[in-house]
């Protein structure tokens, strides 16, 4: 019995080591979104390039939707931009933008200077819809199913790795669901 007690510190240190080692590979910025499984929050905002057009959550229904939160002030948005262009061209999903806390003229110019991958962009200068979506910064991307329910949220830029590891599985699931209905 007493001999066993000698090993308790060793066991504790090894257990602590395992816990801490695991902690090294966790990203604290990656929070579970409170909105996954919920309906897209209601909104009524103008379209970025056509201020006279009012958009609501109904405009995002009926397809597999990627809603990408972006802004001209956001460095990583530029990084993920070419990937978004490719995604839009693939036609597997409908890619919409949420122009978050930006200036309308700057944002319009940004889309001219680079390339506009979005079907349309929702203009949210005060960040009100962003707040309802639990957005903490750009870029963030939401995946919505055909009924307008949020199925996944990704914080940070999209690239090939993120796309194949995180987005493709959920999109395949959604396509299978669509086929079943």
């Amino acid at each position: 019995m007493n001999k066993m007690i000698r090993f308790i510190p060793l066991v504790l240190v090894v257990a602590l080591g395992i816990v801490l080692y695991r902690g090294l590979s966790l990203n604290p910025q990656e929070l579970p979104s409170a909105l996954v499984g919920q309906k897209m929050p209601a909104f009524s905002l103008s379209q970025l390039q056509k201020p006279e057009v009012t958009l609501t959550e109904q405009d995002l229904k009926g397809k597999i939707v990627l809603l990408n939160v972006w802004g001209t002030w956001c460095v990583y948005c530029k990084y993920e931009h070419p990937y978004l262009v490719d995604i839009a061209k693939s036609n597997r999903v409908a890619l919409y933008g949420l122009n978050y806390k930006d200036i309308r003229e700057d944002a319009k110019q940004w889309l001219i200077d680079y390339e506009n991958p979005y079907v349309f962009s929702i203009f949210d200068p005060t960040g009100k819809l962003g707040l309802d979506l639990g957005v903490t910064a750009a870029p963030e991307t939401f995946v919505l199913d055909q009924t307008g329910t949020i199925r996944m949220k990704h914080v940070g830029p999209i690239d090939t790795k993120v796309w194949t590891e995180k987005f493709l599985p959920i999109i395949e699931t959604l396509e299978a669901e669509q086929g079943a209905n």
């Binding site: 929070l31 806390k101 639990g134």
Partner: protein, 154 residues
């Protein structure tokens, strides 16, 4: 001992004053009670981006937005619970510096207490065993007699 007291007093001092960082934006309140509620809410709520700061301490854009939202919700006459629920619905339990008691957080809430009880139990058991051992050390009359004899020889 004196050194320990000194360290403790510094630790307490920095803890006492740490809550007094002031956010740069100023909001006007109709009454002092609402202002107090606002102050305590922004200290209780955590900034989702700058994760080791509360809303009061942080000047990240998202913290500014959430402070404005807190202010607006207070002006609309929402209760503290409603405001906290509003934040949790959008940013998850993560925004609470004092997490709710749920099956996920039992370890967090009761773990320290359980560890303390285990520690006390171990200390008590060990000290009892030691005092029992001491009693066993005492020599029997026979052993004592033998010892005396051995010592006499020298």
């Amino acid at each position: 001992m004196l050194r320990l007291l000194f360290v403790l007093s510094i630790a307490c001092g920095s803890w006492l004053f740490s809550g007094d960082a002031i956010a740069t934006d100023t909001y006007q309140f109709d009454d002092e009670v609402t202002q107090k509620r606002y102050q305590s809410l922004i200290k209780e709520l955590r900034c989702p981006k700058c994760q080791n700061q509360n809303l009061a301490d942080s000047n990240a854009p998202i913290a500014q937005d959430l402070r404005r939202e807190t202010y607006e919700l207070l002006q609309m006459g929402k209760t503290d619970i409603e405001i906290v629920d509003f934040m949790v619905k959008r940013y998850g339990d993560f925004v609470l510096y004092r997490p709710k008691v749920s099956s996920l957080t039992y370890v967090l809430w009761f773990g320290p207490g359980v560890l303390l009880v285990i520690g006390i139990t171990i200390v008590v058991v060990l000290s009892r065993r030691r005092s029992k051992n001491k009693k066993n050390i005492a020599l029997t009359a026979e052993q004592q007699a033998k010892l005396n004899e051995l010592l006499k020889d020298k």
